[in-house]
C-alpha cells in the first residue's frame, strides 16, 4: 500500500485496446512518464465485472466489449486533470467518465445495439477513432437511453426500486469511486469463485503471453476456465503485477479436485519460469514474508 495525497480533480478514463501488446505498451508508457495515479489493464472478465451490476449483464457486456466493439482490453487510468489531459494529448481514444456513465446506465440496451457492430467492423486506420468524435457521447445517450431505471431493468422486480435509488447515486458510475472502494473486486466472483495467481514480472509482452498460454493450456487440460484478470505496472514501467484467474465451483467435488490439480501444475510452471528467467516471482513467496510495500515485494 502506498499513500498519496488526494486532489479534488481526480478522474478516470478507460482506454480501449485490441491487443494485450498495445495495452501493455500504453500502460508502460504512462508508468515511465508517471502519468496517472493508478493504472490497470483489465481483461474481458474484469471489464464485464466492472461495468455490470448483474451476472447476466456481465455475460452480455463481455460479448459486447470483446466481440462487437473489438475491445478485449481496457486500461483503467485514474489521475488528476493533468494526467487525464496527457492521455488525450498522447492521442488515445478514451471512454471518459461521461461516456462510461452512459454505457453503465444504458447497459441493458447495449447488447441489442446493432450500430455497435458497425463500429467494430470499421476498418479505419486508427482503432476506436469514433470515440474521438465530438458528439459520440451524445449519440450513445440517444441510442442507449441511460438512466438508473434502465440500469436496474434486469434486476429482480422486488429489488428494482432499491437499485434504482442506488444507481441514482453519482458514485455508482464514478470510475474513481468504483475503483477506490473495490466494487469491481466485490463483483468479480459472482460467476464462480476464482483462484488468482498473482505474479511479479517484467512488463514484457512476449513473456506474459508465453506464460499465459501455458496457464491457459493447464486450464484446458483440467477442464476449467482460466482468464487474464488484470495487469498493473509499477516501478517506472519496469515491472508489473499480473493476475491470472482459474474459475471453479466450490460445491462441485470434481471441480475441487480439478482446481487443486490446476493450481499445482500452474505453480510448477511459474516456478520453472522463476528459475529460467530470474525475474518472474509468485506473490505467495513474497507476501507471506510480511512485506507490505511494493518496493519490498519487488526487491526481496
Amino acid at each position: 500500500m502506498k499513500l498519496h495525497p488526494v486532489t479534488a480533480d481526480e478522474g478516470g478514463v478507460l482506454v480501449p485496446f485490441e491487443s494485450l501488446e498495445n495495452a501493455l505498451g500504453f500502460a508502460k508508457k504512462c508508468s515511465i512518464r508517471h502519468i496517472g495515479l493508478a493504472i490497470g489493464i483489465l481483461g474481458e472478465e474484469f471489464i464485464s465485472s466492472f461495468i455490470a451490476p448483474t451476472k447476466k449483464l456481465a455475460d452480455e457486456a463481455r460479448v459486447v466489449f470483446a466481440r462487437k466493439m473489438c475491445m478485449p482490453y481496457l486500461v483503467l487510468l485514474i489521475g488528476d486533470k493533468y494526467a487525464l489531459r496527457s492521455v488525450r494529448e498522447m492521442g488515445y481514444p478514451v471512454i471518459d467518465q461521461k461516456l462510461f456513465k452512459t454505457l453503465y446506465q444504458g447497459l441493458p440496451s447495449l447488447n441489442s445495439a446493432e450500430w455497435l457492430e458497425l463500429l467494430g467492423e470499421l476498418t479505419d486506420d486508427e482503432p476506436f477513432s469514433y470515440l474521438k468524435l465530438g458528439q459520440f457521447g451524445e449519440l450513445a445517450e440517444i441510442a442507449l437511453a441511460p438512466s438508473p431505471a434502465q440500469a436496474a431493468k434486469d434486476i429482480d422486480p422486488d429489488l428494482r426500486p432499491f437499485f434504482e435509488r442506488l444507481y441514482l447515486r453519482p458514485e455508482m458510475n464514478d470510475l474513481v469511486w468504483l475503483n477506490t472502494f473495490r466494487i469491481q473486486s466485490a463483483r468479480y466472483n459472482r460467476e464462480k469463485p476464482t483462484v488468482g495467481l498473482v505474479v511479479y514480472l517484467p512488463v514484457d509482452t512476449s513473456l506474459i503471453t508465453e506464460i499465459q498460454a501455458g496457464l491457459q493450456d493447464i486450464a484446458q487440460r483440467n477442464h476449467l476456465k482460466g482468464r487474464l484478470g488484470f495487469i498493473t505496472p509499477f516501478d517506472n514501467g519496469k515491472r508489473c503485477v499480473w493476475e491470472y484467474d482459474y474459475y471453479y465451483d466450490h460445491n462441485d467435488p470434481d471441480d475441487m479436485v480439478r482446481i487443486q490439480q490446476t493450481t499445482h501444475e500452474a505453480g510448477v510452471l511459474l516456478d520453472e519460469y522463476s528459475v529460467k528467467t530470474g525475474t518472474v516471482k509468485q506473490v505467495r513467496y513474497l507476501v507471506n514474508r510480511g512485506c507490505c510495500r511494493k518496493e519490498n515485494l519487488l526487491y526481496t
Binding site: E114, L118, E121, D124, E138, A143, A145
Partner: protein, 389 residues
C-alpha cells in the same frame, strides 16, 4: 484428373463473394473446376465448398474438386506428388483470391496476400504450362486519376488506399511473370460488385451495403428514441411523420458530383465467362457499368427503402459539414473509406469488354434491383447468416 482442353479451370478465391458466384457459373457451363484454397478453422476446404454449393443451389457432382493450398509456400505448400498431379491438369487458371481491406494498418497483410503470395501461383502457372491465366483485379487499380481510364496497364503512382495499390502492383508482377513464362494472361477489372440483380443474393455486404446499413442503424437509434419518448432526437431536428417516416437530418458531404460504378454479380460472371471463352492474350477488360447511378439516385433509393427522409448531399471540393449533428458525424466517419467511390467522375473505357460481350451491359441500377439486394441483405442480417445453406 486431366481435363479436356479449355474445359478445366483452376480457381482461387472460390469461398469469397465473386469467386463463389463464378464457381457456380463455371459449373453450370460444364467446366471441370478445381478450387485451390484454405481451410477455415476446423472446416476443411471441401466442407466449405459443400456449404457454398448448397447455398448456391448447384449440384457439382464430379465436376468440382478441392485442393488445400498455401500460396505463401513453394509449390503451393503441396508435396511433390500432389503438385505434379495439379500441374497435370493443364487448365485455365482464374485467380480471384484477394484481401479487400482498405486500411493502411493492414498494409502488410494486404500486400502479403495480394502481391507477395503471387509468386507461388505464378510458378504454378509456369510449371503447369497453364492454358491461360485470368487475374481478377479491380477497375480502381487505376489509382488517383481523372477522365477516361483505358483498358491498359496501370500508370498511376498514387492511390486512395492500400487495396488499390496492391492490385496495381499485382497486375504489374503478374504481367511481367507471364511475359517471361509465356503463359497467356488476361486482367479482369470489375468495379464495385453488388448482389444478384434478380434474386438479390450476395455473400459480402460492404461498399453500398455498408452505407445503407449505417443509415439504417442510425435511423433505428433516432426512431427508438422518439418511440420511447426520449426527447433527445427532437433536439437534433429528428421526428416521426404521421405516416411513420422518420425525418433524419443527414447531410452527406462529397467533393464533386459524380457517380458510383456498380455492377451486379451476375453481370460480372456472365462477362468473365464470355472472356474465358475467348482466346486473346495480354488483354485488360473493364467489367464496369456504362451508365452508373449517381449518389442522388442512391440517396433517394435509400430513403425510400428505409422509410426516412431528410438526407441531403452537399458538394464541396474542400469543405466539411459545419456543425454536424451526432448522426452526421458518425455517418461521415463510417463512410469515409468509401468516399472516393461515391462521387466518381472517371469514365472506364469498356471498348474491349464491349466487343467481346457483343455489347451486353450491366443492367440499369433500378429501385427494384436496389430493393431486392437490400431486402436480401436485411434478411440475412447484413451478412451474419449469408452463405448458410
Amino acid at each position: 484428373m486431366q481435363g479436356k482442353s479449355g474445359r478445366s479451370i483452376i480457381l482461387t478465391g472460390a469461398t469469397g463473394f465473386l469467386g463463389a458466384f463464378l464457381m457456380a457459373g463455371l459449373l453450370e457451363r460444364g467446366y471441370q473446376v478445381t478450387v485451390l484454397g484454405r481451410p477455415s478453422g476446423d472446416m476443411r476446404l471441401s466442407d466449405r465448398l459443400s456449404h457454398l454449393t448448397r447455398w448456391l443451389n448447384i449440384d457439382p457432382g464430379e465436376k468440382l474438386s478441392a485442393i488445400e493450398a498455401d500460396f505463401s509456400k513453394k509449390h503451393l505448400g503441396l508435396d511433390d506428388k500432389a503438385y505434379g498431379d495439379l500441374c497435370a491438369i493443364k487448365g485455365k487458371i482464374i485467380h480471384c483470391a484477394s484481401d479487400t481491406s482498405f486500411a493502411e494498418r493492414n498494409r502488410e497483410r494486404v500486400m502479403n496476400t495480394n502481391v507477395e503470395s503471387l509468386s507461388s501461383l505464378l510458378d504454378f502457372a509456369a510449371d503447369s504450362r497453364a492454358e491461360h491465366l485470368y487475374y481478377v483485379s479491380t477497375a480502381y487499380a487505376c489509382g488517383r486519376c481523372e477522365g477516361i481510364c483505358m483498358e491498359t496497364p496501370v500508370t498511376a503512382e498514387s492511390f486512395h488506399n492500400v487495396y488499390e495499390e496492391s492490385k496495381a502492383q499485382a497486375e504489374e508482377v503478374i504481367r511481367r511473370s507471364c511475359e517471361d513464362s509465356g503463359v497467356p494472361l488476361s486482367i479482369l477489372r470489375p468495379s464495385i460488385v453488388y448482389g444478384h440483380s434478380k434474386s438479390g443474393r450476395a455473400l459480402k455486404f460492404n461498399a453500398l451495403y455498408y452505407c445503407v446499413r449505417s443509415i439504417s442503424y442510425i435511423r433505428d437509434i433516432f426512431a427508438n428514441d422518439i418511440r420511447q419518448g426520449g426527447g433527445k432526437s427532437a433536439k437534433w431536428g429528428s421526428f416521426l411523420d404521421d405516416d411513420g417516416v422518420l425525418y433524419l437530418p443527414l447531410r452527406i458531404h462529397l467533393p464533386n458530383r459524380g457517380s458510383v460504378n456498380l455492377i451486379p454479380v451476375d453481370y460480372f460472371v456472365e462477362t468473365v465467362l464470355c472472356i474465358i471463352g475467348h482466346s486473346g492474350t495480354g488483354e485488360i477488360y473493364h467489367i464496369t457499368c456504362g451508365d452508373p447511378p449517381d449518389i442522388m439516385t442512391l440517396s433517394e433509393y435509400t430513403q425510400r427503402f428505409l422509410g426516412v427522409r431528410g438526407i441531403r448531399v452537399l458538394w464541396d471540393q474542400a469543405g466539411k459539414i459545419t456543425d454536424p449533428n451526432p448522426a452526421e458525424e458518425l455517418f461521415e466517419r463510417l463512410f469515409e473509406q468509401y468516399r472516393p467511390y461515391l462521387s466518381d467522375n472517371r469514365i472506364f473505357d469498356r471498348s474491349r469488354t464491349h466487343g467481346i460481350t457483343n455489347g451486353v451491359s450491366a443492367p440499369p441500377f433500378t429501385y427494384e434491383i436496389f430493393e431486392n439486394c437490400m431486402s436480401y441483405a436485411v434478411a440475412c442480417e447484413w451478412g451474419v447468416t449469408a452463405g448458410r445453406s
